[in-house]
Amino acid sequence: MNLEAIKSEIEANVPGCRLELVANPSPSGQHSLRTGAEHAVAVAVYLRDAEDLRFDFCSNVTGIDWPSREVSQKVKVRKLVDGVEQEVEEVRKTALPGTLEVVYHLFSVEKKHGPISLRMSTIDRDANVHLPSLTPVWRSAELQEREIFDLFGVVFDGHPDLRRLLMWPDFTDHPMRRDYVDPDDYEYEPTAHDEVLRRAQQHRSEADEEHPGEAGER
């Protein structure tokens, strides 16, 4: 299973499609293909139907939240320093916009090979969170995409039944996002640490204000 070969095969067969091969530095060696949203369904259908690939079994669908972050990069730049052109290392900071990424892990029941990971990213995390749904290609994505919609807020276009899966319908947050602030119910935390401790103490002082004099009763 050569991912490079698969990549070029798909690019040859799906017109206009450009894939990115995302290397995985870990010992698992599970590299992945990144596709753009517009060709995703075509790529998926090809992966599923191509005679030599037959990735008919979409095992796992995952969302990953990448918040906006600054990446500092050391770049060697040729610069005129004191009149002499020199190669100077410079720290260049680039602000990467946050994205929501969706990863599909595919296997083939027929050929008994896999996995191959297929990735897609949204444009950002706020407004442009649409991705094409691959449920029409693999039915197994149905509930998992709903879960990602629920917990990450990725909107899958073309999903037959995109509702919240785990939280109640009136819930407005996407709790698996990194910037989610969980509800504050730290009234009683006898073994609190760190952040929890801080919030518990805050609750405690509020309670003290409400019931002065009761403190230390127990």
Partner: protein
Amino acid sequence: MSTATHPTAHFDLQPTDGPGKEQLLELSMGPQHPSTHGVFRMKVVLDGERVVRLKPVFGYLHRNHEKIAESETYLGSMPYTDRLDYMCSITNNWAYALAVEKLAGIQVPERAEYLRVITGELTRLQNHACLIGFLMQDMGSSGTPLMYAFREREKILDLFESLTGARMMCNYMRFGGCRVDLPAGWLDQAKKVVADFPRFLDEYEQLLVSNEILMDRTQDVGVLSRELAVSAGISGPMARASGVDYDIRKVDRYSIYDRFTFRVPLGSHGDVYDRFMVRLLEMRESVSILEQAMRDIPSGPIVDPKMKIRGFRPKPGEAYGRIEAPKGELGFYLVSDGSPNPYRYRVRPPSLINLTVLEDLCVGRNVADIVAILGSIDIVLGEVDR
């Protein structure tokens, strides 16, 4: 009739009218229902007793396993995995350990692999036995098969307890091996339990397999086609009952499963009876694996000596590891950013994905069939909702 009083007006998807244009009854089965195996809920639209629509509602046991795991250390998540599929904690441990081992490139000593296989297959035995018991309970047999299954399960849990210290939440695997070695006499005790197990299976078969009521209630009920099974990502015994020849123990040859001879039973109808029978037959195969493993188990270390218990930080990267858990393909997807906590921690729960086809199986059937179908899918809510 105004829409407000129409019983289906509140339904998420407008149901179709019944054939005779009778009113449809929208019923909520669960979360507190004797046969939803926990807090599962199905919104059912009934035409008489026939199911017109069925929408599963999840999340009543959504306890944020993935979110919590992302703020725990890698090891800290291990006891949490016990509580995913709480019937089979050891296989959950195993899948997680396998994923982390892939992520960090850790080798597992041979004895540890044997221990994993032994405990894992014991887990499979008790899970399948109990599942069949629960299925029969759902079909109204006042608990007798379940009692027999739990009688056997208690024996296996005794083994687990004397090995790992806990009956259900074993927390047994460690990255690169297992936590403790077998105590003295454990293997003999286990051999006895395994040797006795076929007798229980015989008893079960006597009690159930040729029972006409059971056959009539389960055969051709909830038929899942092979194509749908593959497309919907159905795995485990449920897929094999539909004729999908896909057993990860054979396909991935993870751990040391290629050393054992065992067969994979396949169904040809894909109905509830096949799912029930495939599990029954799988138990016999598990017994055979166990016998081989307990015969061949070598001595040696049980954990990779390079592994430290604290301060484990895999290099950045990602890995997807999966095993054939009793309920199907249990996978863990981990993304590491080099910190002690996983950046992304994802469980691929077989129970949840096997539920994808629930509506397809139930529509057009009877209310009583819903519970049989649901029972045969074998869900555990801890894993469905996580």
